[in-house]
């Protein structure tokens, strides 16, 4: 029995370390290869030994697909390909391919140079890993091999984010990666056609949230202070937001951006304009939205200068780096504010302060008291519950599988999906396998003659009745053809064997044979209105291809013998006629 198997190695009832194995029609595909922000031990990477204990990963996996450049979706890639060992193709969109190595290098630097980790992947490994990448264009059908094909759809989560359709024959799976169903200031909304996959694997970060309009959130937001962000993604969105607001309100307070990376990042945005939203694409010739006037580079010394300011600092979950440094500096003053614009995974400082913790244990047993205001504002470009439902409605999957979310929230969404769409919904934990039986139909070639003959009949007025197509399926190697029986016989060089029946029906009739034939004719003509009944010049009667002849009885002149003759193919009608005639003819009036 064919089946689709899905096993999350990461992001199963969890956010972070996205890595999902899919087996479909004998093909094995790994979706994303992320790291976990909440851990710095073995648990930060997926457990690749699950895939195969002995063999090489390359032999087992047909391809790897990366949905977007966020580290929780691609952070383990160099470890996976260079240290564990994988030489097969890795597919991602071009912006992802451009930006991903920069973020990986950044991540490596923090891990190795700042935290002093040994046995981490090297810069060279990142380069070698990126050599295995094949760029995928939106809507392009990429033939991974003769049977497996993948296709990218716009996901709108960050620049270059894509959803992927994985297809073998008539079976398919769609993996959304992270996506956003509402266009924002620089990206468009995710879109997919009605591709009716067997399974839709969707993220569910905001499974229970329904976001209100962004306008009011924007106004609350514009007071001051520290905004931890990731260098690429939301940062650009927030920069555009502040830039336009500063311009409109003529504000003077400085806005700083903490890393040199971002300036470079903005260059990418300028070069990948086709991946942004309609408005930016339309106006970029006049004004490139990624050239900011009010936003300046941040210097460490600015943190201590008096007066209001807004600082964007990386990383976004306050788990390391400059954002954490500034946070420590400013945390003690209740006039300051930290705004968390995105989701924080468990274990990070960001998650702790968002859950209301005000005393934080830092390295070296120091305790940091947080007096500053803590605000959470979802600027994260994930689909909310409404968006997820919308996407399910768009794609019309047979089954849904939730990943990249918290178990409790998933549970709620799962019920909602099952109720509304009447499809099964799964939410496996990491390492847990979901198996879906599939029943793919079998494509064969039908000879046009046979098909047209059937379709022409289907056009008749009483086409309501289901009509039977009869033919012969010729299976030669892997070539399946459905042809008419006549053609099959001819192709195989076989002769038809004709089976014919002739039944004698005795009738009591004293008239001449010819007159009996006429009576038979008029009787059949009146009963069989839908059939072609003919009286031939030689005295015989035909009903369709059935031949009826009247003969004298050799012994009894008062009895006539009707010879009813038909072929095996006309058996029903022939046998019906004999029984009809056996009942006798109506008396001539």
């Amino acid at each position: 029995m064919p089946e689709i198997r899905v096993t999350p190695l990461g992001a199963g009832q969890d956010v972070g370390r996205s890595c999902i194995l899919v087996s479909i029609a004998g093909k094995n595909v790994m979706l994303d290869c992320g790291m976990h922000m909440g851990f710095s031990d073995d648990r930060r990477f997926p457990d690749f030994s699950y895939i195969t204990r002995s063999g090489r990963l390359t032999d087992f996996l047909d391809c790897v697909i990366i949905s977007h450049f966020h580290l929780d979706h691609c952070g383990a890639l160099p470890y996976f390909s260079e240290m564990v060992g994988y030489d097969g193709p890795i597919y991602m969109t071009q912006p992802t391919q451009a930006i991903c190595p920069i973020l990986l290098e950044d991540y490596r630097k923090i891990a190795v140079d700042k935290k002093g980790e040994a046995n981490f992947f090297t810069s060279q490994m990142i380069k070698d890993c990126m050599k295995k990448v094949v760029a995928v264009h939106l809507h392009q059908t990429v033939q991974v091999d003769d049977e497996l094909e993948i296709k990218a759809y716009y996901a709108g989560h960050v620049l270059g984010a894509a959803m992927f359709q994985i297809k073998v024959g008539s079976e398919s799976v769609v993996y959304t990666g992270d996506y956003n169903m509402t266009p924002d200031r620089h990206l468009g909304a995710a879109w997919i056609d009605k591709c009716r996959p067997n399974l839709l694997i969707t993220e569910s970060t905001y499974a229970t949230t329904i976001r209100d309009s962004k306008r009011c959130r924007e106004r609350d937001f514009l007071k001051k202070v520290l905004i931890p962000v990731f260098a690429l993604g939301r940062a650009q969105e927030l920069c555009i937001l502040l830039e336009t607001f500063w311009e409109r309100m003529d504000l003077k307070a400085p806005i700083y951006f903490s890393t040199g990376l971002t300036e470079k990042a903005n260059h990418y945005y300028k070069l990948f304009i086709p991946w942004t939203n309609q408005k930016i694409r339309k106006t970029f010739v006049q004004r490139n939205m990624f050239e900011f006037k009010h936003i300046k580079a941040f210097d460490r010394a600015f943190a201590d200068s008096p007066g209001p300011m807004v600082v964007f600092a990386t990383p976004g979950m306050l788990h390391a780096g400059q954002s954490l440094q500034i946070f420590r500096k400013w945390a003690g003053n209740e006039k300051n504010m930290v705004i968390m614009p995105g989701y924080c995974v468990q274990g990070t400082v960001g998650h702790k302060i968002l859950s209301g913790q005000r005393k934080l244990e830092m390295e070296g047993r120091q305790v940091l008291e947080v007096k500053m205001q803590v605000e959470y504002m979802s600027f994260s470009a994930h689909a909310d519950a409404k968006g997820i439902m919308q996407l399910v409605g768009q794609a019309e999957p047979e089954n849904v599988l939730l990943v990249h979310g918290e178990a409790k929230k998933m549970e709620f969404l799962k019920q909602k999906i099952e109720q509304e769409f009447r499809v099964s919904c799964y939410m496996p934990a990491n390492g847990e396998t979901v198996t879906l039986p599939t029943s793919p139909s079998i494509p064969v070639g039908v000879s046009l003659g046979l098909l047209k003959r059937e379709m022409a009949q289907g056009l008749l007025p009483d086409a309501k009745k289901p009509r039977l197509l009869h033919g012969t399926l010729i299976m030669k190697d892997s070539n399946f053809r459905l042809v008419s029986s006549e053609q099959a016989l001819k192709e195989l060089g076989l002769a038809e064997h004709q089976l014919r029946f002739t039944c004698r029906v005795h009738l009591h009739d004293t008239r001449k044979e010819q007159e009996t034939a006429v009576r038979v004719y008029s009787h059949l003509k009146s009963v069989l209105k839908d059939h072609c009944v003919q009286h031939l010049p030689d005295g015989s009667v035909t009903v369709e291809s059935i031949l009826i002849q009247a003969a004298a009885h050799s012994e009894d002149p008062g009895t006539k013998v009707l010879l009813v003759s038909w072929t095996y193919q006309d058996e029903e009608l022939g046998s019906y006629l004999t029984s009809l005639l056996k009942k006798g003819l109506p008396q001539a009036s």
Partner: protein, 637 residues
């Protein structure tokens, strides 16, 4: 399958393909050579031009369009292969009742829009005081001087479209990416492939499950800026329609670029100006890149380069954001991240300046000697007209023709006598005949269809037998207003067998490796997809309450029974009969076989090699028993 050929211009094709009940238009190029019959449209009233004798100032701008060979409102989709081949789009989408969809890549649409915008702008900014159309009347045209007298189909010449029509036409385009599979009504699949000629230029595959047509239009194997041509996907075509080959088969583009640079340098060094009539996109990117590498070594770094077009800025900006559609070298630049084309640097260092027109800023910045890139290459409208008038009288200046679409001598005619130098360096990167024959050997289509011009040497070089397509079987040629029946017959169609039905099939092996199964199934056809489902179970007779009518019993004669094959060995058959309780069996030999007599039942069975005939009394039970015994020896199909 039929091909309606609406354009006779081999590089500006317009064909309509009818394939499996879909009507697909392949390109809609606009042949603008007819504009050469008109006088230039100067920005400044020119006493010289308006005082020319004879038939002065005709009705502006007319273009050759297509004939009514086919009702264009029946066209389902239009496939565009590159931005030069979509210039007639507004005429079709806005004036023929067309209701379908147009498919094109994003760069094709964006740059096509720029070309149309430029054209409309050029025409509209010099409105005509009067327009004449009566001369198109056949009786009057006859009296006109040559070549107007000989121009064909002047009645199809049209006024230029408006920007409103352009926008409306472009709104009907759906963007597609290379290798995207687009389903048309479930019957046909179309796929654009990279053709290597221009940004976003594509060849198209039009296929069903069993037939494949390739449409090759404007392809290039040279390494310029666009993504390389995808040749492999053209393999296994039943028919390959080949259009858009190079218009200058004898010129080598690389040599022409070299000549271009050296002539440019020579003129400038002597204190002259260089005028390059060009389109605002395409070869100009390559020329700027060459100059970028060339100017410093040639000592031209102080010479200003001007690019004047209403869409100059947009064209330069757009070229930088289509990294995905560029060649590998340029793509990798984006990863750095750097703009893929070096003209960004030329602009930054003020070596290249762009202006929407000669009005405004340009007049302040204008320094001579200089190099000006501007349109239109026909020299009939656009800012180029002004520069021709301005510089034509000095032999220091040079006009260099790089675009191959117009005869440069005809283009220059109204400006004669000219003192300025004229250099002809046509750069056409499209396939030449050597490359075509290599390509055809590589992809091996069963049939090749092409414009008739490609099946014979060019008229001017009739001895050059190498300047034509050479393939086996010989290419089928078409000319304008012809309808070709394409030479292949469809035999098969895809049908899906539902898994439940597949499970119920009983295959039997007839020969080694060949199995057969008879299929009786219900055919469902929806959206041109065919599905076979298991036949419904026979309905249970519904109680005896309802009175049956006689006609209910009449069997449907269209219920099909399988065909039979095989032969019946008489001895075994007789044994079987005996086993099943028949006695008193007599066998007689006949000329062709045997007769088995069941004397007791007054039944006679004639058995021959290919037929069996059971003749019995009207005893249905007996007949069915005998039938089943006979069928045991036969195979069903």
């Amino acid at each position: 399958m039929k091909l309606y050929c609406l354009s006779g211009h081999p590089t500006l094709p317009c064909n309509v393909l009818k394939f499996k009940s879909t009507t697909v238009m392949l390109d809609c190029g606009l042949d603008m050579t007819s504009t050469l019959n008109f006088l230039p449209l100067p920005l400044v009233q020119s006493p010289r031009l308006s005082n020319l004798p004879g038939w002065s100032l005709k009705d502006g701008n007319a273009f050759l369009d297509k004939t009514e060979l086919i009702d264009l409102s029946t066209v389902d989709v239009i496939l565009i292969s590159n931005y030069h081949c979509m210039m007639a789009l507004p005429y079709i989408t806005e004036h023929t009742g067309f209701t379908g969809t147009v498919y094109a890549t994003e760069p094709t649409v964006q740059i096509g829009r720029l070309l149309m915008e430029e054209l409309v702008n050029f025409i509209e900014r010099v409105p005509k005081a009067q327009s004449a159309s009566l001369w198109k009347n056949k009786d009057i045209q006859r009296l006109l001087p040559s070549p107007l007298k000989d121009a064909v189909e002047v009645s199809t010449w049209r006024r230029c479209y408006t920007m409103q029509e352009v926008n409306s036409a472009l709104s009907k385009i759906q963007l597609v990416g290379y290798s995207q599979k687009i389903e048309l009504f479930g019957a046909v699949q179309v796929t654009p492939l990279s053709s290597g000629y221009a940004l976003g230029s594509s060849n198209w595959i039009i296929q069903s499950h069993y037939e494949k047509v390739s449409y090759v239009s404007g392809s290039s194997l040279l390494t310029t800026h666009p993504q390389p041509m995808d040749q492999a996907s053209l393999k296994n075509s039943d028919v390959l329609i080949l259009t858009g080959l190079t218009q200058i088969p004898t010129a080598n583009p690389d040599g022409m670029v070299g000549e271009f640079c050296s002539n440019l340098a020579l003129t400038v060094r002597n204190g002259g100006n260089v005028l390059v009539p060009c389109y605002p996109s395409g070869v100009i990117y390559d020329l700027l890149e060459c100059l970028y590498q060339y100017i410093d070594s040639a000592g031209l770094s102080s010479i200003p380069f001007y690019f004047i077009s209403p869409v100059a800025n947009s064209s330069l900006e757009f070229s930088q954001i289509f990294a995905e559609w560029l060649c590998h070298n340029k793509q990798t630049k984006v990863y750095l991240p750097e703009p893929p084309f070096p003209h960004a640097e030329l602009i930054q260092t003020n070596k290249l300046k762009h202006y929407p027109s000669i009005h405004g800023d340009f007049s302040n910045d204008f320094r001579q000697p200089c190099v000006v890139f501007t349109g239109h290459p026909s020299l009939r409208f656009g800012d180029v007209v002004h520069f021709m008038e301005l510089w034509g009288k000095s032999s220091l200046n040079t006009v260099i023709f790089t675009e191959p679409d117009f005869s440069y001598l005809e283009a220059l005619a109204p400006y004669q006598p000219l003192a300025m130098k004229c250099i002809y360096c046509p750069i056409d990167t499209r396939l030449n005949f050597i490359q075509v024959s290599k390509l055809l050997k590589e992809v091996q289509p069963l049939h090749v269809v092409c414009p008739e011009q490609y099946t014979q040497p060019p008229p001017a070089q009739s001895h050059r037998m190498d300047l034509m397509i050479d393939c086996q079987p010989p290419a089928m040629s078409y000319r304008r207003a012809e309808v070709l029946a394409l030479p292949f017959k469809r035999r098969y169609e895809k049908i899906e067998i539902m898994p439940e039905l597949a499970d119920s099939l009983v295959p039997m092996e007839i020969k080694p490796g060949v199995s057969l199964a008879t299929v009786s199934a219900v055919l469902h056809t929806k959206d041109n997809k065919h599905v076979l489902q298991p036949p419904p179970r026979p309905a249970q007779p519904t109680g005896g309450k309802k009175r049956k009518r006689a006609s209910d019993d009449i069997p449907d004669c269209k219920v099909l029974k399988p065909l039979l094959s095989g032969s019946i060995p008489v001895d075994q058959f007789v044994q079987t009969l005996e086993k099943h309780g028949f006695s008193d069996i007599k066998v007689e030999d006949t000329a062709k076989g045997h007769i088995v007599l069941l004397q007791e039942a007054e039944t006679l069975i004639q058995i021959e090699e290919d037929s069996t005939h059971i003749i019995c009394d009207n005893d249905e039970m007996l007949r069915v028993r005998l039938r089943d015994l006979v069928l045991k020896f036969l195979q069903k199909f």
